[in-house]
C-alpha cells in the first residue's frame, strides 16, 4: 500500500475514526426501526466524543422543525442517523401533531421563535378535510381541490412572511382501501382520483421555497400494505407502519442534504464486472458480456443508460480501474454496444495503484471534496479498502447480481437535488472544456500569455430572480474558494436582494473554450461608512484566472459610488478553505484582529492610491441583458412554477 493511502484524519484519534467509519458503514436501506434506535444511541456517543466526522468531511449544523398531522415523535432518532451519513447534525423542533396549522399560522408560535432553517411538513390523508361529495361534478371536484390547495398556500405564504426557512412537504400517499374498488380510478369524486388530483395540483402550485417529498412514490416503492399500518395508527397516531419509518426518514435526510448543498456530485465507477460483465484484460473486448441477447449483458446496458441519465442531469462521472489504461479504454472505443463513451467521463484513471490513492487523485483533479464522491465497485475487498482509508467517500454495498446495480444506485438517493438549473445540465461540458484549457496552459509560454489567450469575458449584475436559484446553489455548496462559508436559504438571499444597504453581485464568465456560467457571488453590506463583505465565493472551476481581481474592481467601484471610507472583510477558516487564508492580505487589506477560532478581520482604507487591479478579463454585456449572454441562460429553473 502506498504511503499516501492514509489521508488526513483531521486530528482525530485513530480509534475514534474507526468507530466512525464502522458506524457509517452500518447505515443502509435495510435497517429496521429498532436497529435505527440502537444506532441513534451510538451516534449520540460518537458525537459526544468528537465534533467532526472522519476524513475530510466537514460537519454542517442546522435547525429543522418537524411538523405534521400525525405523531412524529418516533421520527427524530432515525432521521438523525441518516443525516449523519450526509455529515449533517440538527437541532430539532418537534411540533405537536394536533397543532401544526396553529404553529405555522401564528406569528408568536414557538416554531418561529426557534428560527428553523428548514420546516418539514409531513401530511397524510387524515389531514385532508375537504373531500368532494358523492356524484360531485367535474367542476365541483375541481373547486374542492382548489380550496384544499388554498389551505396549503396560506401556510406557505405565512412561512414566507415570518422567516426565510425552506419547506419540505410530503404529497399525500394514497391509502390502500378503495370503497369503489377499481372503479375509483375512473370516478372523479372518489378518494383515489381526488388525492391524485391534489398531488398534481401540489406539484403545480408549490412555489420555489417549497420542496416536495414524493410520499406517494415512497409508499409504492415500499408497498402500501407496509407503509400504512392500522394497529400502529390506532395505538400511536402514527399512520406509517414502523417498517416505513426507515424509508421515509432516509429519503427525508437525502432531501435535507440536497437543500444544504451536501448531495454527492461525482460518481466514480470501476469497470470490469461493474460497467460490463467479465475482465476485459482476460477475455478481450469481444468476450465481454455487454449488450442485447444475453440477460447479463442487457442488465449492464441498462445500468449504463441509467448512469448516462445521471450524467445528463449534471452528475460528474469518473473511472477508477485496476487496468492498463489502453486496455481499460478499449471497450469504450471499439465495443459497438457500449452506451457510455470516453467523453462522458471527466476523469479516467486506470493503473495499478490502490484505489484509495486513485480516488484521492480523482477528487483533486476534479477539484471536488472527497465527500462529494460515490464509488461503485463490484469487488467487496476494494469497497472495504476505500471505506477504511477514505471514510468520507460514499461506497454503496453492491449485490452480487448486476441486474440490481441500477436500483441500488437509485435507492441511495446520493444525488438528490432541490432544484435543477441549466448549469446542472451543462456542468459536465465545463469539465471537458477545462481539460482543453489545461492542455493550452501546458503549451503557453507563461501564465499571462495563457490568460490572455483565453479571451475571457465576465458579465455581472445585482442578484435577480432569474439567477436566484444558481446563486443559492453556489452559496450552499461552495467550500474551497469561499471566505466565510456562510450558508443562506433562498429566503435569506431574497431578504438581502431587497435591502438597499446590501451590495449583491453575481458574475458570469466565458472564454474561448466555452461558457463557465454563473461562477461567483459577492454579498456586502454598507454600515457605518464601510462596505463589509459578508460572502465572497467562487466556483472552483475558474480559480487562478484573475476573476477575483475583476470582482475586487467591482467592489471598489461600488464602495466609491456609495462614498464609504473603507471596505472590510472576514476570513473564517474551515477544513476546506485554507487557500483563502491570505486572500485579503494579498489584496492589500490590513489585518484588524485574529479571533480565537482563527477568524481574521480585514480592512482596506479607500485612500486615493487604491486603484483597480489589472486582469485579463473584458467586461461584457450591458446591465440590462446580463444573464442572457452566452449559451448558458438562467431563465430555466424547472422547479420554479
Amino acid at each position: 500500500m502506498g504511503a499516501c493511502l492514509k489521508g488526513g484524519t483531521g486530528g482525530m484519534a485513530k480509534d475514534q475514526m474507526e468507530a466512525w467509519s464502522h458506524f457509517l458503514s452500518k447505515i443502509n436501506a435495510k435497517l429496521t426501526y429498532p436497529e435505527l434506535i440502537t444506532m441513534a444511541r451510538s451516534l449520540k456517543g460518537l458525537q459526544r466524543d468528537a465534533d467532526m466526522f472522519p476524513g475530510d468531511a466537514a460537519i454542517i449544523r442546522t435547525k429543522i422543525a418537524l411538523l405534521g398531522n400525525y405523531n412524529l415523535s418516533f421520527l427524530p432518532s432515525p432521521l438523525e442517523v441518516y443525516l449523519a451519513q450526509h455529515h449533517v447534525q440538527v437541532d430539532l423542533f418537534l411540533g405537536d401533531f394536533a397543532n401544526y396549522k396553529q404553529d405555522l399560522l401564528s406569528s408568536d408560535s414557538a416554531l418561529y421563535a426557534f428560527c428553523p432553517h428548514i420546516i418539514i411538513l409531513l401530511l397524510d390523508h387524515h389531514s385532508i378535510y375537504l373531500w368532494p361529495a358523492m356524484y360531485a361534478s367535474h367542476a365541483e371536484v375541481q373547486d374542492v381541490a382548489d380550496r384544499q390547495i388554498q389551505v396549503w398556500v396560506a401556510l406557505w405564504e405565512k412561512v414566507r412572511g415570518e422567516c426565510s426557512a425552506s419547506i419540505i412537504q410530503t404529497n399525500i400517499a394514497l391509502p390502500c382501501e378503495r370503497p369503489l374498488g377499481h372503479y375509483e380510478a375512473r370516478t372523479e369524486w372518489s378518494a383515489t382520483h381526488y388525492l391524485r388530483k391534489l398531488n398534481q395540483l401540489l406539484a403545480e402550485r408549490a412555489p420555489s421555497h417549497v420542496h416536495i417529498l414524493d410520499a406517494e412514490h415512497l409508499s409504492g416503492i415500499l408497498g402500501k400494505l407496509s407503509w400504512f399500518d392500522e394497529p400502529t395508527w390506532y395505538n400511536t397516531r402514527q399512520s406509517l407502519g414502523f417498517s416505513a419509518v426507515p424509508t421515509l426518514t432516509r429519503s427525508l435526510a437525502s432531501m435535507i442534504a440536497a437543500l444544504l448543498g451536501k448531495s454527492r456530485k461525482c460518481l466514480v465507477l470501476d469497470l470490469d464486472n461493474t460497467l460490463w460483465g467479465g475482465v476485459v484484460g482476460d477475455v478481450g473486448v469481444e468476450g465481454l458480456r455487454l449488450g442485447k441477447g444475453d440477460a447479463v449483458g442487457e442488465a449492464f446496458i441498462d445500468f449504463q443508460h441509467y448512469i448516462r441519465q445521471l450524467k445528463e442531469r449534471g452528475v460528474i462521472l469518473a473511472v477508477c480501474s485496476k487496468n492498463n489504461p489502453e486496455i481499460a479504454r478499449a471497450p469504450f472505443e471499439s465495443h459497438p454496444e457500449m452506451v457510455l463513451k470516453l467523453d462522458d467521463f471527466s476523469a479516467f484513471v486506470a493503473n495499478w495503484d490502490d484505489k484509495a490513492t486513485n480516488l484521492r487523485r480523482i477528487a483533486l483533479q476534479l477539484n471536488v471534496g472527497l465527500d462529494s464522491l460515490v464509488f461503485m465497485d463490484d469487488n467487496p475487498a476494494e469497497r472495504a479498502l476505500v471505506r477504511r482509508y477514505v471514510a468520507a467517500i460514499t461506497v454503496p454495498e453492491l449485490p452480487e447480481d448486476p441486474a440490481l446495480f441500477r436500483r441500488v444506485l437509485d435507492e441511495g438517493g446520493y444525488f438528490e437535488i432541490a432544484t435543477l438549473s441549466k448549469e446542472d445540465l451543462v456542468r459536465t461540458s465545463y469539465y471537458l472544456a477545462e481539460r482543453k484549457r489545461q492542455e493550452q496552459a501546458a503549451i503557453a509560454p507563461d501564465v499571462n500569455e495563457f490568460l490572455e489567450s483565453l479571451e475571457m469575458v465576465c458579465t455581472c449584475g445585482p442578484f435577480d430572480e432569474m439567477n436566484l436559484q444558481r446563486i443559492v446553489q453556489l452559496i450552499n455548496k461552495t467550500n474551497q474558494w469561499n471566505l466565510t462559508t456562510q450558508r443562506l436559504t433562498e429566503g435569506e438571499v431574497g431578504d438581502r436582494m431587497a435591502d438597499p444597504s446590501y451590495f449583491t453581485l453575481w458574475v458570469r464568465n466565458r472564454d474561448c473554450f466555452g461558457d463557465n456560467g454563473l461562477i461567483a457571488v459577492l454579498i456586502a453590506r454598507e454600515q457605518k461608512a464601510t462596505l463589509e463583505v459578508e460572502t465572497w465565493l467562487m466556483s472552483c472551476r475558474v480559480i487562478n484566472r484573475g476573476i477575483e481581481d475583476f470582482i475586487f474592481n467591482e467592489l471598489l467601484d461600488e464602495a466609491r459610488r456609495r462614498g464609504t471610507s473603507s471596505v472590510e472583510g472576514t476570513y473564517r477558516p474551515t477544513r476546506k478553505n485554507t487557500i483563502m487564508r491570505l486572500f485579503y492580505e494579498n489584496l492589500g487589506f490590513e489585518r484588524l484582529v485574529t479571533e480565537e477560532d482563527g477568524t481574521t478581520r480585514w480592512r482596506l482604507h479607500l485612500s486615493r492610491d487604491v486603484c483597480h487591479r489589472p486582469n485579463h478579463i473584458a467586461r461584457g454585456g450591458s446591465r440590462e441583458d446580463e444573464g442572457r449572454t452566452g449559451e448558458v441562460n438562467s431563465d430555466d429553473s424547472y422547479s420554479d412554477t
Partner: protein, 81 residues
C-alpha cells in the same frame, strides 16, 4: 417457548431499550418501576419485543398491558408450538 427463555430474551430487549446492562426485569414491573419508561420508550419497547419474538401484538393487547407479566403471557401464548 419456556418461561425462562422468554424471560432472558425479554431482559435483553429491556436492557437495550433502557441502556442499562444490569437491568433486572420483574413480572410485576410497569412503567413506574423503570426510569425512562415514557410513552416513546413504551412504543419502542413494544416494537423491539415484536421483532425479537417475531410476533405482532393485537391492538387490544397493547392497550391492556399493565405489567411485564402480562406481556410474557401473550408471548407465551403466541410462541406455543
Amino acid at each position: 417457548m419456556i418461561h425462562i427463555q422468554i424471560h432472558e430474551r425479554l431482559t435483553k430487549v429491556f436492557r437495550e431499550i433502557f441502556e442499562d446492562a444490569s437491568l433486572e426485569v420483574k413480572d410485576e414491573y410497569n412503567a413506574k418501576d423503570i426510569p425512562g419508561w415514557d410513552s416513546l420508550a413504551h412504543v419502542n419497547l413494544t416494537i423491539a419485543i415484536e421483532e425479537e419474538f417475531g410476533i405482532r401484538f393485537l391492538t387490544a393487547e397493547i392497550a391492556s398491558f399493565a405489567c411485564v407479566g402480562d406481556v410474557k403471557k401473550v408471548i407465551q401464548e403466541r410462541t406455543k408450538v
